[in-house]
Structure formats: C-alpha cells, structure tokens
C-alpha cells in the first residue's frame, strides 16, 4: 500500500506506543515483541493518532524542524516503514 496525503493512520490494534523515561525513547509494544524508536521515528509516530492526516503530520514537523532539509521524504518513508511493519493501520 502506498501513502496518500489525505490518509489518516492510527497505531495498529494490539499495539501500544508510549514514551519510556528509562530508555529516553518512544517504544512500540506488541505481543511477543517491542521496538525502541530513535528520536525522529518517535516524533513522526507521536503524531499518528487516528486524527492527523499525513499532510498535517508533514506540515507540523516541517514547522517544528525548519532547518532540516528534505524532511518530507524522511517522514513519508517513516510512515511507510511503520505501515509495512504493521505498527500502524489506516483510520479513514
């Protein structure tokens, strides 16, 4: 599945996304496994909440990280990665 700008995603069923103080990172938890996310992956998935469109996420992060070149491409590939891993699913 490829991503369109108006798509809305949410954290997949039976998965949990949360900030971990001890690890200083966001994590995704699911049956039999977990993934610790690096800073930028955590930033993106924090905005994947079943309400924000992909467009909205891209704009919000562009605004937050004005100095980062080519950020849109990174955001889209992160969303695609999370989708391929089934950490997130379509909400609209």
């Amino acid at each position: 599945m490829t991503i369109a700008h108006q798509d809305i995603f949410k954290i997949a069923a039976h998965h949990r996304f949360q900030w971990e103080e001890a690890q200083q990172s966001h994590v995704i938890l699911f049956p039999e496994g977990m993934v610790k996310l690096n800073g930028s992956a955590g930033e993106v998935l924090s905005l994947v909440d079943g309400k924000n469109s992909v467009d909205h996420i891209v704009n919000a992060l562009k605004e937050k990280f004005k100095d980062v070149e080519g950020i849109e491409k990174d955001i889209l590939s992160m969303i695609q990665f999370a989708l391929d891993k089934a950490w997130i699913e379509k909400a609209n």
Binding site: A13, H14, R16, Q18, E20, A22, Q23, Q24, S25, V27, L29, F30, P31, E32, G33, M34, V35, K36, L37, N38, G39, S40, A41, M78, F81, A86
Partner: protein, 394 residues
C-alpha cells in the same frame, strides 16, 4: 519473544531490563513432559511471594526500565490475585501478557483482566488430536483449550498460541497451523522443545529427527506464504540441530529478568542449575541491586569470562558462546562453549544425544511427567539414574 533491531531503533548506552517474566507460581494443573521448569520445583512451592511482594517487584522492575511483563508459572491462574497484579501492571505502563494453559480462565476472570488492562493472553496448545494433547500434558484438557481460545477471541484479545513441538506432534504441523487459523489466531509460536528441566530428563522420548524438523519448517514456510500477514507464524529453531548456539536470552543480564515463585531473581529460566552462584532474592536486597550489582548478574556479562574456542572466535558477538546452563548441564563446565557449537570440544555430547533419541530402547522408557510426586522423587534422589548424565539436576 523478540527485541527487534532495525534502522529506526534507538541505541542504549547502559544495560536495562526490558522484559520481566514473573513465574508467579510453580503449581500447575498440567503435567507436561516438556516443561522447562526446574524438576525440583517442589522445593519452592511453600514460600510463594505475596501479592504485595509481587506488586513491589513490578514497581521496582519498571523503575529499572522493564516494560514487557509476562505473567507465567506453573499456571498463573492458580493464584487468585492475578486481577490485582494486572491492574498494577497497567497503572505502571507495562505491556502485560498472561501466559496460560487456559485452565482456570473463566468469563468472570477474563472480563476482570480486560477491565484491568491486561494486554494479551498467550495460550498453550498441544495438538490437533485429543489423544496427544491429553497424553503429553497428562491431563484431559483438549476441549477446554478450544473453548478458552474462543473466549480469548470474543473479548477482543489478540490470540497468541504457543505450541511446543516434539516427536509426538511434529507430524501434525500443517493441521496445527490450520487449526490455529480456524481459531482466528493472530500469532502462532511453534516452539521446538529446548532441553531444560523436565524436557531434558525426557529428551530421548521427545526429540524428533533432523528430517522431521526440516519437513516441519518447510510446511511452516509454505503455510506462511498462503496465510500472509493475517497470522504471524514464528518457528523457533531447535538448537541441537544447528551448528551454532543460540544467543541465549540475548545475553546474560542484558534485557531479560525472571523473578521466580519464591522470589529468586534470575537472568534466565534455568540459571539455578549453575554451580557456585548465589542468586539474589527480592526478599533480601531488592531488584535494583540484583540487576545492577549482584555478582550473579555480572557473572557472565560481556565476554571476559570466555574460554577458547569462544574467546578468540570471530563469531563470539553473534551468540556470546551460547547458553551457560546448557554448557554446564551437558559438559560440567559453565564457562565452556555451548556444546551445540560444532567448534566446541564437547560437541560430541550433542551428537550422542541425537543418536540416543533414535534408539528404540531409550525411546521406549517411560516419560517422567511434571508433577509433585515426580519432583519429590527427583529431590530425594529416587530417580537419580534418569539424570546421571547431567552435571546438575535439570
């Protein structure tokens, strides 16, 4: 159980437990021949931790960084305080998993778990036939397991089935996978028996042949292709048939912590077989000390303890020399390479075990089922001939 690593994983600078396995009781209504619990568990059934002590364990482990919680046993549902423990786990932010045979799971309890915030339930299944299910578990639990599977599904839980694979069910892999699909399983773990505890004592009776395992893996792969993403199938490869050992627990005291029914804190399921190590107990100095400072948890961290051929092996980071318990149980030297490794000077022990398991006379020996009576026999030395080849009581 997997801690994934990939391009988006964060790096960690110091060791923290990620997984806490609470072996909340050794009591169990099933008597599985392949159980990994210690065969002398009967020693530890009289002094189980209280609810309050478990809640403190959960809090302390969470402070250390643990976030995946397995509530296991024995059969955890034999305790009536799992509901309280689940609520506390949720409050603390754990992703919690009840690992159960299904015996004792009622509508009332599952509803309480759901409301309390339990995240998932892992149900053990044994076979598609009632005969083998009842034989290997030494109980009549076949119909019950199917009912429990449906109950788990109807409460909106992901269905995680764990099937321990051995000689008696390895020929039914395809049918087992089809049953899992029909039950609506989301995850299926085909766990080839690893030989610890009761399964080590019963190794000759349980071990399949290499050909059977290869065939089972082939069928599993074909099934995966057919079923796609809707059901995730894990095939846990049996280490005896591999020429390199497993990276046991992802490293000693690296990510995994077990607290046993009586409060012992262990870096792996069977660590108590190791000689000259005093494992900490939560009743004494607490979890923080146990994880960070106890001599037991520091014993095999890193690689300075390694002997040859591991010490200079270019692959040592890959498997960290394998399993210390297996090395000691089979060779009598906990610091030696896991005998599974083809470079181990003790590899012949594994080869002999594989040969022995093909010997019809040894295969025909009665199985020692996991129960209190047999555990007492192990403790009293009454069945010493069954464990004479091992360097500790499995």
């Amino acid at each position: 159980m997997a801690t994934q690593n990939n391009g988006v994983a964060a790096s960690v600078t110091h060791t923290q437990p990620l997984w806490l396995l609470a072996e909340i009781t050794y009591r169990c209504p099933l008597h599985c021949a392949f159980c990994y619990n210690p065969t002398d568990y009967d020693k530890h059934t009289q002094n189980e931790l209280s609810t309050e002590q478990w809640i403190n364990v959960l809090r302390d482990a969470r402070k250390l960084g643990a976030l995946q919680l397995g509530i296991s046993g024995g059969e955890p549902l034999l305790r009536d305080d799992i509901e309280e423990i689940v609520v506390e786990a949720k409050k603390l932010g754990y992703y919690s998993n009840l690992i159960t045979s299904g015996v004792g799971l009622t509508e009332k309890r599952i509803q309480a778990f759901k409301e309390g915030g339990l995240d998932h339930i892992q149900l053990s299944m044994h076979d598609i036939t009632e005969e083998i299910n009842n034989f290997i578990t030494n109980t009549k639990t076949f119909e019950l397991k199917k009912k429990v599977a449906a109950m788990i599904k109807s409460h909106g839980y992901p269905m995680v089935l764990n099937v321990v694979i051995h000689r008696y069910n390895i020929g039914h892999i395809k049918e087992i996978l089809e049953m899992a699909e029909a039950l609506g399983a989301d995850y299926v773990e085909l766990a080839n028996t690893q030989y610890y505890g009761w399964s080590l004592v019963n190794r000759n009776q349980l071990m399949p042949t290499k050909e059977q395992i290869d065939h089972a893996e082939k069928i599993t792969n074909e099934f995966r292709e057919k079923v796609g993403n809707k059901m995730k199938v894990f095939f846990v490869v049996p280490d005896y048939f591999s020429d390199r050992p497993k990276k046991c627990m992802n490293g000693w005291g690296e990510v995994f912590m077990i607290v046993t029914a009586n409060g012992d804190v262990l870096p792996c399921h069977s660590a108590r077989v190791l000689p000259n190590i005093e494992f900490p107990n939560v009743r004494d100095k607490g979890l923080m000390w146990a994880w960070q400072d106890s001599p037991a948890f520091n014993r095999y961290r890193g690689d300075s303890w390694m002997k040859e051929p591991c010490r200079t092996c270019p692959e040592k980071e890959k498997d960290l020399g394998g399993c210390r318990c297996q090395a000691f149980l089979l060779s009598g030297d906990a610091e030696s390479a896991d005998p599974v490794c083809s470079m181990s000077p003790n590899h012949h022990i594994i080869e002999k075990a594989i040969e022995d398991a093909k010997n019809p006379t040894l295969q025909a020996q009665p199985i020692l089922f996991r129960n209190d009576k047999n555990s007492k026999k192990i403790i009293s030395g009454e069945v010493n001939d069954l464990i004479k080849d091992f360097h500790a009581t499995p």
